[in-house]
């Protein structure tokens, strides 16, 4: 049983995850290092991140071992619990940098918006796997209608990044299932048309960021500053990088948020093009492993769960890398495993556990 159990674990995925996580910790050591005249002071971020990782392991185990099919039943309760939490944030939330996103649990600041991603993912997987075939308007409208509630609550926190990710995860899953060509055509026309409406729902600083992305040189020291500095950091790594702890851009703090959203810039500065390619390949391998699990899942619910997790990571990687490399506007979306973050690390581990869960059970009802 033990051997069988061990064999059933998707080791490639575990391996890639572990490598990514440790690269992240290593990078945090450097990113949060602070060069002073007396040498390097290191903020304890990397240590904290390690602890988060260790805390993540049991969570991962739980998500891996409890049969994922139970989640089907838990999907709705989880969803409503999340909505309650999001509303609670408005009343009891802790305000940091002018945004109410956290609930203080004493030992940590819990972000309900992270929970929203998971519960929408699970609910989406349940709703989408009920049926096969491409989605028509009615089904699409129903699924989106339900999930709009948490998204709006999150965006109002304000946390544009997380709000969009919830949407994107769900959207990715819907695409994975497929839409009728009529719906697809309509969406292609309708989505750009509704964008101006969304514009008014945004906060001023969110608008500013988008404008400055479209024209970064207009205000090099304002909102476009992040983008420029980030490009300088990445670019100045050149082919081989400046070496571990050698990143001047990051150590001199020209980079904002270097241990969270811009952790990749630190990595690329120190490890150069070669290192960046290694990291990019690792991320792609990681995603590919999840895609394989989605392919081999023994039932549609599992396949959709894996697909949801795939998109959960995919969007973050796409948006964060795009932002660091100056291809996308600056929205506060972290890079999985590289960015420091307690809630995010826990969620990442849980979701990898969920994929392992689906992966393990693909043999249980093997078709002959």
């Amino acid at each position: 049983m033990d051997r069988k159990f061990l064999l059933s674990i998707n080791w490639p995925l575990v391996g890639v995850t572990a490598v990514l996580f440790f690269l992240g910790v290593l990078n945090l050591y450097s990113a949060s290092g602070f060069r002073m005249e007396e040498g390097l002071n290191v903020d304890p971020y990397f240590r904290k991140q390690l602890i988060w990782g260790l805390m993540g392991l049991p969570c991962m185990a739980v998500f891996m071992l409890v049969d994922y099919r139970h989640l089907k039943t838990a999907a709705w309760p989880l969803f409503w619990l999340t909505v309650v939490m999001l509303v609670a944030v408005f009343f009891f939330g802790k305000t940091i940098y002018g945004a109410r996103r956290w609930i203080d649990l004493g030992f940590m600041h819990f972000q309900p918006s992270e929970m929203a991603k998971i519960s929408v993912l699970i609910l989406g997987a349940r709703l989408l796997s009920r049926d096969t075939g491409k989605l028509d308007f009615l089904q699409l409208g129903g699924i989106f209608g339900v999930c709009c509630l948490p998204v709006i609550l999150v965006i109002k926190q304000p946390d544009l990044g997380s709000g969009l990710s919830v949407f994107l995860i769900l959207g990715g899953m819907i695409l994975y299932r497929g839409l009728t060509s009529r719906v697809l055509r309509t969406l292609i026309v309708a989505v750009p048309a509704t964008l101006p409406l969304a514009w008014f729902a945004l906060h001023d600083y969110q608008k500013r960021r988008i404008v400055s992305f479209l024209n970064p040189e207009s205000d090099p020291k304002g909102a476009g500053y992040h983008k420029l500095q980030s490009e300088i950091a990445v670019g100045s790594g050149e082919l081989w990088g400046k070496g571990f702890l050698g990143g001047t851009q990051s150590h001199y703090r020209f980079l904002p948020e270097k241990h969270t959203d811009f952790a990749l810039a630190v990595f690329s500065e120190e490890w150069g093009f070669v290192g960046s390619m290694v990291l990019l390949s690792l991320f792609c391998a990681f995603l590919y492993q999840i895609a394989l699990v989605a392919r081999d899942a023994k039932d549609l619910f599992g396949s959709y769960l894996a697909a949801g997790v795939f998109f959960y990571f995919f969007w973050q990687i796409l948006i964060n890398m795009g932002m660091v490399l100056g291809l996308m506007p600056v929205v506060g979306i972290p890079l999985p495993f590289l960015s420091y973050g307690g809630s995010a690390t826990l969620v990442n581990f849980c979701l990898v556990g969920l994929v392992l869960n689906v992966s393990m059970r693909r043999f249980l009802f093997k078709k002959v």
């Binding site: 005249e37 497929g178 851009q249 590919y288 396949s303 995919f314 009802f365």
Partner: protein, 601 residues
């Protein structure tokens, strides 16, 4: 849940799987290209930018040279001034920060916004934008206490000029203030926010006093926090200078001129060193050091007595009878005057239809040169002027240094005016009239001289004819500009007449008598306006102030080989003797102190 799943249900959507793989491929390709572009293709460029990013140069200010008086007393020093700067990059909310600053310091909110708006274009975002040049201790404490909650605010310690005797030396030293646009453009050594000498010696000696700024290169982080110093070029402090001016004499003169408008010059006749130089009234130069408020400025510039005007360099006056000293010299030099020959003064002289009066209506009777000078007889000089004519008078005046700046180390010095035929033609389009020779001869009309020119001429009369550059610095070597065209005998004649003017009971300068010293002087009364008969009939004190004549007294004192020229000019002082005399006397008393009775034989 039922394990009976329909077979197709177990099949995940095929196009969905393809989609996942395409997405991975897409991400890989796009980001590979982007990494390549940033790190390899443009890598060198970005590496250069990164270098520039983290190296910051900072000027290290050289302390401005100190200025001392002749006796070593400090006149201009530097003291720390606390400026409030705002580093925009670190400031989360400029508006709120400005509100807070306004609350703490009481500075006007609108003005702060204005300063901020102006500074934005000039100051880099990571450099402090100076909101206020000069904070008191209370405000500094207030800001320091709140600094942590308001990132971006910085207290900068800068050097401010402090004038220990702000009002005594304001016109000599001028003042230092923040450099303006044109100064910045014309001087590579200046950067925004630097102080620069605006007037007086501070301006003239700017390069000597300023010294050379040092440079510090740092590696900095984004908040401008200093990480490591790369290299440092230490500053060279500005040069200290010592003035020729005697602090005691200057303050004494200042006191004597209290409430008056005018100029006092005391000059060492042998070296040209200026021992006292005052333009009255004065203002306190310290008001300008920290940036002057507009009310303060308005108060000074609207003052009817014009304290901001430096009368030493900016004003030239009709010399009145003082000019007779020049006329006498001119007559002697041209051999058109025999000192013992007498001229009869009936109290007036007619030329054509015009009557030229002597100031003494009853006339002086027969006067020779000495008596004409001692009693300042106008008719004597009318006749001399007629004889000499404008060409000779102006040529001699120029030769004695009138009509052009003396070259003293002060900016924008005016040279006064000595009229000539050409000048009259050019200026008024009219030819020179014979009658104008007469006005010229008694120092009225078009002639304008400065007290400095007069002092220089007086000094030349007693030092062997050397026309010296007036020197403000103690270290300056005597600089002979030219020799006046009078021989020793001629100079002696004029000098002697001046001494008589003081010594004789009938002389106009009896006030300047100083026991133990040889003192000579000449008064002058310069008409400001042609007084109507109605006004002339009034008592002096009833004539409107602005119409009263200017009062001159130009003199010298000698004792034990020390020789000084003293010139006092009091605007609207009515009479040389009463208006300017007491000030001359005060100078003489200080320069030649009397041995107290019973002390030393």
């Amino acid at each position: 849940m039922s394990g009976l799943l329909s077979p197709h249900e177990k099949e995940p959507p095929r196009h969905g799987l393809l989609l996942l793989q395409l997405l991975i491929l897409g991400v890989f390709c796009v980001f590979t290209l982007r990494f390549w572009y940033l790190q390899v293709h443009e890598g060198q460029e970005f590496a250069r930018k990164a270098k520039a990013n983290q190296l910051r140069r900072e000027h290290v200010y050289a302390p401005r040279g100190l200025i001392r008086a002749r006796g070593g007393e400090l006149l201009a020093t530097n003291e720390p001034a606390y400026a409030l700067g705002l580093v925009r990059e670190d400031c989360h909310d400029v508006e709120a920060t400005l509100d807070a600053v306004s609350r703490w310091t009481g500075l006007d909110r609108a003005k702060l916004a204005e300063v901020y708006r102006k500074g934005r274009g000039k100051v880099k975002p990571f450099e402090p934008l100076i909101l206020s040049q000069d904070l008191g201790f209370k405000e500094v404490a207030e800001v320091e206490a709140h600094k942590l909650r308001w990132p971006g605010l910085e207290i900068l310690v800068r050097s401010r000029r402090n004038y220990s005797y702000g009002d005594l030396f304001c016109h000599v030293l001028g003042y230092v203030a923040e450099a303006n646009e044109s100064e910045l453009d014309n001087d590579d050594g200046l950067s925004l926010g630097d102080n620069v000498g605006k007037l007086g010696l501070e301006k003239v000696l700017e390069t000597r006093l300023r010294g050379i700024k040092g440079v510090r290169e740092f590696e900095v982080d984004v908040t401008g926090r200093r990480m490591a110093e790369v290299n440092t070029l230490p500053p060279n402090a500005g040069e200290d200078v010592t003035l020729a001016i005697d602090l005691k004499l200057q303050s004494l003169v200042h006191e004597a001129m209290a409430g008056k408008e005018g100029v006092v010059v005391v000059m060492d006749a042998d070296s040209g060193q200026v021992l006292a130089l005052l333009s009255a009234p004065t203002f306190d130069a310290n008001h300008f050091a920290g940036g002057i408020s507009s009310e303060e400025w308005r108060k000074l510039s609207d003052d009817p007595q014009h304290p901001l005007l430096n009368r030493v360099t900016q004003s030239a006056y009709p010399p009145g009878s003082v000019f007779k000293l020049v006329m006498a010299g001119c007559g002697l030099k041209e051999d058109m005057l025999n000192p013992s020959e007498t001229v009869f003064c009936p109290g007036s002289l007619s030329l054509g239809s015009h009557v030229f009066r002597c100031w003494r209506r009853g006339g002086h009777g027969n006067v020779n040169l000495r008596r004409a000078l001692v009693e300042s007889c106008d008719v004597y000089f009318y006749r001399l002027g007629m004889k000499l004519g404008v060409d000779r008078i102006s040529a001699f005046s120029f030769a004695c240094g009138f009509g052009k700046p003396t070259g003293i180390d002060l900016p924008h010095e005016k040279g006064g005016n000595i009229p000539t035929r050409e000048w009259k033609l050019k200026t008024f389009g009219e030819r020179w009239q014979k009658g104008e020779d007469l006005n010229f001869a008694i120092g009225q009309g078009y002639t304008l001289v400065t007290p400095l020119q007069v002092a220089r001429y007086i000094a030349a009369l007693i030092n062997g004819g050397k026309l010296l550059k007036p020197q403000l610095l103690a270290s300056a070597e005597p600089e002979v500009q030219t020799q006046i065209p009078l021989n020793a005998h001629e100079r002696e004649l004029i000098k002697d007449a001046m001494v008589r003017t003081v010594e004789d009971p009938s002389g106009t300068c009896w006030r300047a008598r100083t026991p133990g010293a040889v003192v000579g002087a000449k008064t002058g009364t310069a008409q400001v306006a042609r007084l109507t008969d109605e006004l002339k009939a009034l008592k002096d004190e009833d004539i409107p102030y602005k119409l009263r004549d200017h009062a001159w007294m130009a003199g010298f004192g000698e004792k034990d080989g020390r020789r000084y020229a003293v010139v006092v000019m009091v605007e609207h002082g009515l009479h040389g003797s009463s208006g300017a005399g007491p000030v001359v006397k005060a100078c003489m008393d200080y320069l030649f102190p009397q041995t107290p009775k019973g002390a030393g034989k």
